[in-house]
Symmetry: C2
Subunit: 342 residues, 2 copies
């Protein structure tokens, strides 16, 4: 008997197939004694439910909605592209993945649609969003209604989500810090840090990690105050110019969020390309080109395709009550240089 079936299980437990079914699918009307008997038999013969056959019999697809904020950042576009690509490929596996965008600025723009979701029609949701009280409460209600939920990219620690799929941003910042330290010649040096708030998911953690790694390993390096662009290219340009002028001895820049296009243009104009170490976040068209053209030294990124696929697998495992392969679902903090780009 290579793989015990429910029939084998019924025999082993000394009960009927109907009872086995009741226990396996936690249907009511079974005494605890009998439940235990079946569960013991499960252990004894090593029964593992075939999820494929189960879902086939259930005759239902696995429906998932992915919520991604709208906006014109390249990073968001990449996320959406990853979702749509995964949706296409996952259709074969009876997964119905739908991308739904929401107004990023309005904290209720996501809560509303979430409240409209019923466990009758949707099995799970993937959420990319910053935790706000309305969102937190909406996710909690959603979970209570029996809908599985995972957060991607940015954690929702107090929302009662099932899992967070993404990188540890403190560690990402540390990684950038360690790299920056190793790439600068020993001795005193100044390093700038920039971000553009909205896209700068978890910039605080990244900054903290960056500072810590440098303080621990490279105490001679001075990290300037964070330059914030607030998603405004002009504003960012002005702020960056000021920093460059005030610090002619600047040796490195850590770009934690968007605004890389502005940064690279400015560095080029200032004749600093190649003379200032640049570490940026997320692989986008700009950062990819930046690496290729030796205008960026390293990019810290996460595999968005992996994140989305992992989110789907995790949601599905949750519903099928299957274990999760932690190793497979772990999102790595990737370091990209010109040569390991593709």
């Amino acid at each position: 008997m290579l793989r015990p079936t429910i029939n084998d299980l019924a025999d082993a437990a000394g009960v009927s197939l109907a009872t086995v079914d009741r226990v396996l699918n936690s249907r009511p009307g079974v005494r605890q004694v009998t439940v235990d008997k079946v569960n013991q038999a499960v252990e004894k013969i090593g029964f593992v439910r075939d999820p494929f056959a189960a879902n086939l019999a259930r005759k239902r697809d696995f429906k998932v909605i992915a919520f991604v904020p709208n906006g014109d950042g390249q990073f968001l576009s990449e996320i959406c592209a990853a979702v749509q690509k995964t949706a296409k490929a996952a259709a074969v596996d009876r997964v119905d993945l739908i991308l739904q965008q929401f107004e990023a600025d309005d904290p209720h723009a996501l809560a509303g649609p979430l409240d409209a979701i019923s466990s009758e029609t949707v099995d799970g949701v993937v959420i990319m969003g910053l935790e706000t009280p309305p969102l937190r409460d909406a996710v909690r209600r959603l979970r209570l209604r029996g809908v599985a939920a995972v957060a991607i990219v940015s954690d929702l620690p107090n929302s009662g989500i099932d899992y967070f799929i993404g990188i540890n941003n403190l560690a990402a910042g540390r990684t950038a810090g360690a790299l920056m330290g190793k790439m600068l010649p020993s001795g005193p040096a100044k390093v700038a840090v920039m971000t553009s708030s909205l896209q700068a998911w978890d910039s605080l953690d990244r900054r903290l990690g960056f500072d810590r790694a440098l303080a621990e390993g490279f105490p001679d390096i001075e990290v300037l105050a964070t330059v914030e662009g607030h998603d405004d290219p002009v504003l960012l340009d002005t702020a960056l110019r000021r920093v460059l002028q005030a610090n002619p001895d600047l040796r490195g820049i850590y770009s934690m969020g968007g605004g890389n296009r502005v940064l690279l243009t400015l560095l080029e104009q200032a004749g600093l390309t190649g003379r200032v170490r640049v570490i940026a976040h997320e692989l986008t068209q700009t950062t990819r080109d930046g690496l290729r053209q030796d205008r960026i030294d390293a990019v810290i990124t996460q595999d968005l395709g992996h994140i989305v696929r992992s989110a789907i697998r995790t949601l599905r495992a949750t519903r099928d009550q299957r274990p999760i392969l932690a190793e497979q679902e772990r999102i790595r903090i990737e370091i990209l240089v010109k040569d390991n780009l593709d």
Copy 2:
């Protein structure tokens, strides 16, 4: 009709279910006209076979044998561990993965078992091995017998395998070179390269890539001749000592294969830890500890778990005649520093 079934397909094609079955499973006795009719209907209604239901009906598991050379290197142990871990997890998906080791030194040790494999009992094989004429021919015969085959870690370019799952070692070497260059202060410097032949899969490519990246981006850096340990700790120790003595101004070491334990011990004894940049390959206990203890600056590695899982998925997709998600199966050249280790 959310997902057309073979019944819908039969209707759309204007033929019977039996004929649809004959066409889909390429059974004989169908006129070309009819075949075309069915295939056109497939396109028209967008029929996609449900691989789960198909395999359920086929009532057969997916049997795979993974061939890994024996030996006492840490890298090989990691591979074996990854195979066994995957085997356990894949059992749920009706995949029967078996690890089979072979004598690495004997070119026929792998060819023999491969010749013994029949497509009746085995669906696919995963091979980690260096290409030799006997192996190449054995793999070719295997493929002719209808058994799918993928190579992992090291490519078998002339063996007619279905896919290679692993990194491009030239690019890996380039990556190491770029990192080394960026981590050394500008100006002239000497860098050593070491390997320990047997475990040093594709060391030639790595060396080549390393040299190229440095020559292109950091022409001031001089790369010394490769130190070879031939899997002998004493020999390696002696050779390394000689290099260190002859080059007191050595600033970096690129370890392409095994022997990292010897290297790190030696550097520690020579008081060079932290003064010489060290880039090593493959994440093992030694390199992991080395990173943690700041004795290694960076490790170039590949996710072995990913490789094995990818190999299984690829073999399965091949048998089920499903498309392969290139993006998902791509193995990345990972750069690890202390802070993005886990």
